[in-house]
C-alpha cells in the first residue's frame, strides 16, 4: 500500500482522474524508488516482500506460484484480469506511488490476501464537519472468492474519521465477545483536531493529519485482512457505498471507548476477582507471554519515542548551526575560507533534512508499528478476558442449576405445581448450561485460531518493517557520504 498524501481535493470526475494519475505514477514510482536507493538488492526487497512471504507461509493456497512471481503489477494488470478467470493474481501492494511525500513516509507493506486499500487525504471542503475530515479510500479487489462480496474491483469512497470509529464500533460489538481479534481503531485526539480545525497550515498540523491518515490506512488493511471480518456486511458497505449514514454517537467514542462499552464496568470489577481454574495450560502460557510482550513493547516504544524526539532536536539544531555558519562565512574576510564556511552551511542544511527524514522513518515505520501492536495486544487481552467472563457465566449457571436441583429434591413430595415449575426451570437452566459450555468451547477454539493467525501476522509485519527501516538507514548514510564527499574538495581548496 502506498501512502498518498495529496492535499488537493478530488475533482468532479473523482475516480477517473485518480485512475489516470495512478497509472502514470505507477511507472514514475518505480523510478522514484530507483533514484533514491542505489542498491538494487535493497530496492527489490520492498517490492516483493509480501510476495515471498505468502509463498513461504503458504497462507493463501489459492495463489499459484507462477502468477505471484509477477512483479510488474499495476492497476492495469488488475483490470485486465477477468472476473471469471479461475486464478487470481495476488494483488501485490504496489499502487500508485506518492507524488510528493519523501520516500521515508512509506507506510509498512502489510501483507494482504485479496485486497488492498489505499488511503489518501483530501482537504475538508465543507465547513460543517466539525470533528472530522475526509478520507478517500481506494479499494481494489480482483479476488474471485470475494467477487460476490464486492460489487466492483475498484472503488473510491470518501469517509470521515467518525465513520471509521462507527465501523469499528459495529465490528467490535459483533465479534469481540466471541473471541475474534478486532483491530482497534486509531484514537481520537482533541489537540490534534483542534489544530486542524483552526486551519493552521503549519508542519505540526500537517504532521498530525499525515499520522492519522497512515494510522487509518493500517487500521483498514488489518481489518480487511481478517478472513472473518472481511465478510462482514458493514465492512463491505464501508468500503463500497458512496454515501454512508452518519455514524452517530461517536463523539465520545474512540477505539478504546468502544472496548470499554463492550466490557461493562461491573465486568471490570469481576475481572479482578474472577479466579478461573484454567484447565488449559495453553491459555495460561499465552496470557503470560502476552503480558510480557506488552511490557517489552511498551518499553521499546518509549525508547523509540525518545529517539524520534532527539533526532528531531538534532535536525533543528543542525539547521540553526547551518544558519550560524552561513553568517560566519559572510563575516569571514579570507575569501577561500569564507566560501568553505558557506559550503559547510549548505552541507549542514542538507544533513538537517536527512535527520528529519530519518526521524520520520523512525516514527512511521517503527514507533507506529509498535503502537499498533500495543493496542492489538489490548484486543488480545480483551478476548482473553471475554473468555474468562464466559467461563464465569457458565459457573454461575452451573451453580444456579445445582441450587435449583437441590431445591427440587426438597420439593419433591408436597406441591405439584411448584414441582412442575421447578422442573421447567431446571430444564431451562440445563439448556443454558449446555449453551454456556458450547460458547466457552467455541470462544476457546476461536481464540486459538486467532492467536495463531495473529502470531503469523506479527512475524510478517515486523520482518517487513525491519527491512524497510534498514533501507531508510542505508539511504541516510549514503546521502551523508555524498554530501561530505562533495564538501571535501571545498575544504581542501582553502589556501
Amino acid at each position: 500500500v502506498c501512502v498518498w498524501g495529496q492535499a488537493e481535493p478530488l475533482n468532479s470526475n473523482g475516480q477517473n482522474s485518480l485512475l489516470e494519475e495512478e497509472e502514470e505514477e505507477e511507472e514514475e514510482g518505480e523510478d522514484l524508488f530507483t533514484g533514491s536507493l542505489s542498491v538494487p538488492l535493497v530496492l527489490s526487497l520492498s517490492r516483493s516482500l509480501s510476495l515471498s512471504l505468502s509463498l513461504s507461509l503458504s497462507l493463501f493456497p489459492s495463489v499459484s506460484l507462477s502468477l505471484s512471481l509477477s512483479l510488474s503489477l499495476s492497476l492495469k494488470a488488475t483490470e485486465e484480469v477477468s472476473l471469471d478467470s479461475p486464478e487470481r493474481d495476488v494483488l501485490l501492494s504496489d499502487g500508485p506511488s506518492p507524488v510528493t511525500p519523501p520516500a521515508s513516509l512509506i507506510s509498512p507493506h502489510l501483507p494482504h490476501n485479496h485486497l488492498y486499500t489505499h488511503c489518501s487525504f483530501d482537504e475538508m471542503e465543507e465547513e460543517d464537519t466539525p470533528d472530522l475530515f475526509d478520507i478517500s479510500i481506494l479499494v481494489s479487489d480482483p479476488e474471485k472468492t470475494s467477487m460476490s462480496l464486492f460489487k466492483s474491483p475498484q472503488a473510491t469512497v470518501r469517509r470521515r474519521f467518525s465513520d471509521f470509529l462507527g465501523l469499528h464500533g459495529k465490528l467490535a460489538t459483533r465479534y469481540l465477545h466471541v473471541g475474534y481479534l478486532v483491530p482497534p481503531a486509531p484514537e481520537k485526539s482533541i489537540v490534534g483536531m483542534t489544530k486542524v480545525k483552526v486551519g493552521k497550515d503549519d508542519s505540526s498540523s500537517n504532521e498530525f493529519v499525515e499520522k492519522r491518515r497512515a494510522a487509518l490506512e493500517r487500521y483498514l488493511m488489518r481489518t480487511a485482512k481478517h478472513p472473518v471480518l472481511l465478510k462482514d456486511p458493514d465492512l463491505l458497505t464501508f468500503l463500497e457505498c458512496s454515501e454512508l449514514p452518519r455514524a452517530l454517537s461517536t463523539q465520545a467514542l474512540s477505539g478504546a471507548g468502544i472496548l470499554r462499552m463492550v466490557n461493562k464496568a461491573a465486568d471490570a470489577v469481576n475481572k479482578m476477582t474472577i479466579k478461573m481454574t484454567e484447565s488449559d495450560t495453553w491459555f495460561e502460557e499465552k496470557q503470560q507471554k502476552f503480558e510480557n510482550l506488552d511490557i517489552q513493547l511498551r518499553k521499546l516504544h518509549c525508547s523509540l519515542d525518545s529517539l524520534v524526539c532527539h533526532r528531531k532536536e538534532l535536525s533543528v539544531n543542525t539547521a540553526l548551526f547551518a544558519k550560524s555558519a552561513a553568517m560566519l562565512g559572510n563575516s569571514e574576510d579570507h575569501t577561500a575560507l569564507s566560501r568553505a564556511l558557506s559550503q559547510l552551511a549548505e552541507v549542514e542544511e542538507k544533513v538537517e533534512q536527512l535527520h528529519q527524514d530519518q526521524a520520520g522513518a523512525d516514527f512511521y515505520l517503527l514507533a507506529e508499528l509498535l503502537a499498533d501492536y500495543i493496542r492489538l495486544i489490548g484486543s488480545v487481552k480483551g478476548v482473553f478476558d471475554q473468555r474468562v467472563r464466559l467461563w464465569q457465566r457458565l459457573q454461575d449457571s452451573l451453580l444456579l442449576l445445582q441450587k435449583k436441583r437441590d431445591a427440587e429434591a426438597k420439593l419433591h413430595a408436597n406441591k405439584p405445581e411448584k414441582l412442575q415449575q421447578a422442573r421447567d426451570d431446571i430444564r431451562e437452566l440445563e439448556g443454558k448450561v449446555q449453551q454456556g459450555e458450547r460458547d466457552f468451547e467455541q470462544i476457546s477454539k476461536t481464540i486459538r485460531k486467532e492467536l495463531f493467525r495473529f502470531e503469523k501476522e506479527r512475524v510478517t509485519d515486523f520482518k517487513e518493517v525491519i527491512i524497510k527501516y534498514l533501507e531508510s538507514l542505508v539511504q541516510t548514510q549514503q546521502q551523508l557520504i555524498k554530501y561530505w564527499e562533495a564538501f571535501l574538495p571545498e575544504a581542501k581548496a582553502i589556501s
Binding site: 538488492l41 527489490s44 510476495l51 507471554k289 539544531n317 574576510d333 506479527r458 534498514l470 542505508v474 564527499e485
Partner: protein
Amino acid sequence: SLVQLACNSSKTRSVSVDLNNDTALIIDIPDALCERDKVKFTVHTKTTLSSFQKPDFSVPRQHEDFIWLHDTLVETEEYAGLIIPPAPPKPDFESPREKMHKLGEGEATMTKEEYTKMKQELEAEYLAVFKKTVQVHEVFLQRLSSHPILSKDRNFHIFLEYDQDLTVRRKNAKEMFGGFFKNMVKTADEVIISGIKEVDDFFEQEKTFLLDYYSKIKDSTIKAEKMTRSHKNVADDYIHISATLSSISADDSTAIKKHFEKLADLFEKLRKVEGRVASDQELKLTELLRYYMRDIQAAKDLLYRRARALADYENSNKALDKARLKSRDIPQAEEQQQLCLQKFDKLSESGKRELTSFKGRRVVAFRKNLIEMAELEIKHAKVMLTMIYRCLFDNAYAIMKLALNVVTSRPFP
C-alpha cells in the same frame, strides 16, 4: 575517582597550527591526574636553551597556575602590543557528572546490560572531557613557547621550571592586581574600541572585522555545541533500543527472534559509531570554533590596549597644548607626549604584525580541521553503511529476494 591519562601529545593538538617548530624549546603534557575536582597536569619541557638549569624536566601544575601565568602576561606592559594566547578554560566535568548522577537514579529501570553500556558511554565522555582539557592547556603553553617574545618571559620560565608549589606566588599576584582590572577591561573595551577615531586603515578594518566576527563565531560555537549534544543523545537512545530488542528477542519463540537479535546487535554497533561521529564533530568543529572565539577575544584585547594608548596620546596632546597656553610645565608635557606617541607607535607596529599572523594561523587551522572533519564523517558513514548492509544480508529475505529477482529476470535498476 582517580583517572590517569597518558596523552599522546601529537594526537591531541588539533585546534592550533603545528607549534613546537622551534626545537630549542619543546613543551608537552604527557600525562595528567584527575582527583575529584582537581586536575594535575604534568608539564614536561625539553630545551637546548642555556637559560634553563636542566635540558629535560617536568613539573606538576594545576589549572590555577596556568591562569596566573596568563594574567601575569596580560598585565605586563611590555606585551601590550601582542596577542596574548587565550587562557585555557577551567576543566568542566559538570556534564558527564550530571549524567552519571541521573544514570544512578535510573538504574532500577534498566537491565544490567543496559546500565553497563550507559556507564561505559559515560566513562568515555568523561575521558573525552579530560583529553580536551589536557589538549587546551597544552596548546596554551605551546603558543607561548613558539612566540619569539613571549617564550623568553621570565614568569613563563618560572612556570616551566620552578619545582615548588606556585600557590604562594599566585596569591601575591592576585593581591597585586586583583580581579578589578580584568573586569574593567571586559566591560569597557567594546565601547572604547568602537568610539575611538581611527587613523590607520588597517586597524579600522580589523576593528570592524573582529567585532563582527566575534559575535558570529560565538553564536556558531553555541549552536555547534547544541548540535553535537543532540547527536550524543541519539547515540544514547540506541543503547536502550538495542537492550530492549535483545530482551524481546530472548523471550520470543517465533521466527522473528533472530531478526530482533540481529537488529539489536546492529543498534549496538551503530551507537558506538554515532558516538564517535558526535565526539569527532565536537573536537573538529565545536572546539575549533570555541578556541578561535577566545583567540579573537585576545585580539580584541590587543585592539583595546592600542585604543587606550591612542586615547592616552590624544590626552597628552591636549595636556601639551594646555601647558603651552599656560606656559607651564612644558618640558614634562612634551616628554609625556613623546612617551605616549612611542608607546602608541610600538603597539601599532607590533599589533599589525600580530594580527596579520593571526589571520594566517586561523585560516590554516580552519582548513586542517574542516578537512579532517569531512574525512571522518565520510569514514564513519561508510563504516555504518557496511554494518547496515550486513544486517540486511543476514536477513534471510535479502537472499530470497535476490533469488526471486534472478528467477523473474527483472533487470536491476
